[in-house]
């Protein structure tokens, strides 16, 4: 057995893979936050709860209706996205004329309600969700053992992130979206239904969070608290990357996941706070964030 800096390669690559997986979730969630913030000008505090809902809907589909993983991967984001659209129409849309901070407070309250309800009915011990049969087992890559499901999570997240980037940067719908982010009044004057665009954008961002939740379900147990701490880390990721650029969110998400994984190998005690420390350094050096536009 050869060793790298005194660390067995199995442990090193294992942690890097775990970092990459966490990074996938950071990337998808911060991407959703950035898209929502771009158009709605609110920080969606409910994002963590909606990620959790994605995992729970997948669990419910399997246990109550017998819908397997692959179905859940499509259905759960649509279902959770639809609940997001209802929330946006009923509550969030009434706050657009106010200070952005009220949006943050409202979505924080909603997150408390949703998390509390799930805790009340399902407890906090966590529910198991099996890995789909097609993706069980793993590959021996020589230097490490790669569980198939974990490889799938990284690939699926990359595909989703890049598709989202493609939709926003390269399609007509994305052009409307970017234009509405810059100047909603002008886009409205051109005959685009901006309020509907806003609603759909919120639903899409929420759907992304739910998709991440379904991906996470077989790795972590399905737990009402699974989104609560994650969302705060994602906030730090968003501060580090800045919300100006889609690709920036993706790169920052995966990069920070890897750094976290490396920290877990070399200095385990620091792994929980390393992202916050990086945030402090970024604030000192480049307050607008790595990919942020200076307002």
């Amino acid at each position: 057995m050869f060793e790298l800096l005194g660390i067995p390669p199995q442990a090193l690559f294992g942690q890097l893979l775990l970092g990459l997986i966490n990074g996938s979730f950071y990337a998808i969630l911060s991407l959703g936050l950035a898209i929502i913030f771009g158009l709605l000008n609110i920080i969606n505090f409910t994002h963590g709860a909606q990620y959790m809902m994605g995992a729970f809907v997948a669990w419910m589909l399997l246990n109550y209706l017998g819908v397997p993983y692959w179905g859940a991967l499509l259905i759960a984001p649509v279902v959770v996205g639809a609940t997001g659209i209802v929330l946006e129409r009923l509550l969030i849309s009434r706050l657009y004329h106010l200070d952005h901070l009220y949006g943050l407070l409202l979505t924080f309250g909603l997150a408390l309600v949703i998390t509390g309800l799930f805790r009340n009915y399902y407890g906090i011990s966590g529910l198991p969700y099996g890995i789909p049969a097609q993706l069980s087992g793993g590959q021996n890559l020589g230097f490490m053992f790669l569980p198939n499901y974990r490889g799938w999570v990284v690939i699926a997240s990359l595909v989703v992130c890049i598709s989202t980037w493609f939709i926003i940067e390269k399609t007509k719908l994305g052009a409307y979206l970017r234009a509405a982010t810059e100047n909603p009044t002008m886009v409205g004057a051109f005959g685009i239904n901006v309020p509907r665009l806003i609603t759909l954008t919120y639903g899409f961002g929420v759907g992304l969070a739910a998709f991440a939740g379904v991906l996470a379900a077989p790795i972590y147990s399905v737990n009402p608290n699974m989104g609560a701490d994650l969302i705060i880390v994602v906030f730090a990721v968003v501060v580090i990357g800045g919300m100006g650029s889609i690709l920036g969110s993706i790169v920052t998400g995966f990069g920070l996941g890897l750094i976290e994984g490396l920290t877990r190998v070399f200095y385990p005690e620091g792994s929980a706070v390393v992202i916050f420390v990086i945030m402090a350094i970024v604030l000192l050096v480049k307050p607008a964030g790595l990919f942020g536009r200076t307002a």
Partner: protein
């Protein structure tokens, strides 16, 4: 000589006139009423419960100083409240400090932490400011989870209440109660003084129009940092006192739910009002006590109150009353 004294005394009279404008009569009445209520309360209610309300009232007022008057939404005030609680508990239990010294050391810790985090956080505005403060608070939470002296999941338990100045035994609830009342009342008056000082006026100017204050030549960031540190310090005073009252400092004190609770108290009572956060704190603490046996329904109820407060009455309870009687409260 006599002429000089005479002109001096008229100046003094004029000065006194402007000072009566400074503290309106109805504010004086409310302060006296609060003091009377505070003195009577331990004979009518369970003293530990009232002390909890007092500590959270100070915490919420300190938070409101930052949000309501500085216009800065910190989503991480648990960091200052909780770290002060830990330091105060550690000082009293391990170092054998008397309670007043333990509380002072906790408060100093919160002030230093506020200075460090504040100077970083004020580099971003609005929503980013909220996220940055929340992230720093989470960092303090993880630190508290792992640090050797915090006792991890157990927290620091059975903290001695000790004897005030080494003389007065603090174990009887009534003895401790009046000390806590004095601390909290001092804190409230300090906040009132800050709000109504020239410094407070500049703060309100920054809150309402930061660009204008910059163009008027104010170093806006210094004012923001100053109010951040003041708010963190007073939040720390509340946390340090709480640790002595409950003889406990735990992870709950530094968790983000605590930051959310103080936002809720301020929002419900009325942000930007002097007395609102006290009302908000009393309501939320009573609610927690009442619903304690229902587990998760505390969280759900708090969430629902959040939503209702944001959607329907953003001025808060005291803000609505102030509108009715057309006087600032």
């Amino acid at each position: 000589m006599s002429v000089a004294t005479e002109s001096g005394s008229t100046n003094l009279a004029a000065a006194q006139d402007t000072h009566t404008v400074g503290m309106p009569t109805h504010h004086k009445v409310i302060f006296v009423a609060l003091l009377v209520a505070g003195l009577v309360a331990p004979y009518l209610l369970y003293p530990v419960f009232v002390m909890k309300v007092l500590c959270f009232a100070l915490f919420a007022c300190a938070f409101n100083l930052l949000l309501g008057f500085g216009g800065l939404l910190s989503f991480g005030h648990a960091a200052y409240f909780g770290s002060a609680a830990y330091v105060s508990a550690h000082a009293a239990k391990i170092w054998g400090f008397t309670p007043e010294l333990a509380i002072v050391s906790g408060t100093i810790c919160a002030a230093v932490l506020g200075l460090v985090f504040g100077s970083l956080a004020i580099r971003r505005q609005g929503i980013y400011f909220a996220m940055v403060t929340l992230a720093f608070a989470q960092m303090v939470f993880f630190f508290s989870l792992q640090a050797p002296f915090t006792g991890g999941e157990d927290g620091i338990q059975s903290v001695p209440r000790g004897a005030l100045f080494g003389l007065i035994d603090m174990y009887p609830d009534r003895n401790l109660y009046f000390v806590v009342l004095a601390i909290v009342f001092f804190g409230l008056l300090a906040i009132y003084r800050i709000i109504h000082s020239p410094f407070g006026q500049v703060l309100k100017g920054i809150r309402d129009n930061e660009a204008r204050m910059t163009s008027l030549g104010y170093r806006v960031n210094r004012y923001k940092l100053a109010v951040f540190v003041l708010s963190a310090t007073l939040a720390g005073l509340a946390g340090a006192t709480k640790a002595i009252v409950f003889q406990l400092a735990s992870l709950t004190d530094v968790y983000w739910t605590m930051s959310g609770e103080v936002v809720l108290m301020t929002l419900l009572g009325g942000m930007g009002t002097v007395f609102g956060p006290i009302v908000g704190a009393a309501i939320i603490v009573s609610l927690q006590n009442y619903l304690a046996t229902f587990g998760d329904w505390v969280t759900i109820t708090q969430g629902v109150i959040f939503v209702i407060a944001v959607m329907l009455f953003r001025e808060g309870i005291v803000g609505v009353i102030a509108k009715w009687i057309r006087k600032p409260l």
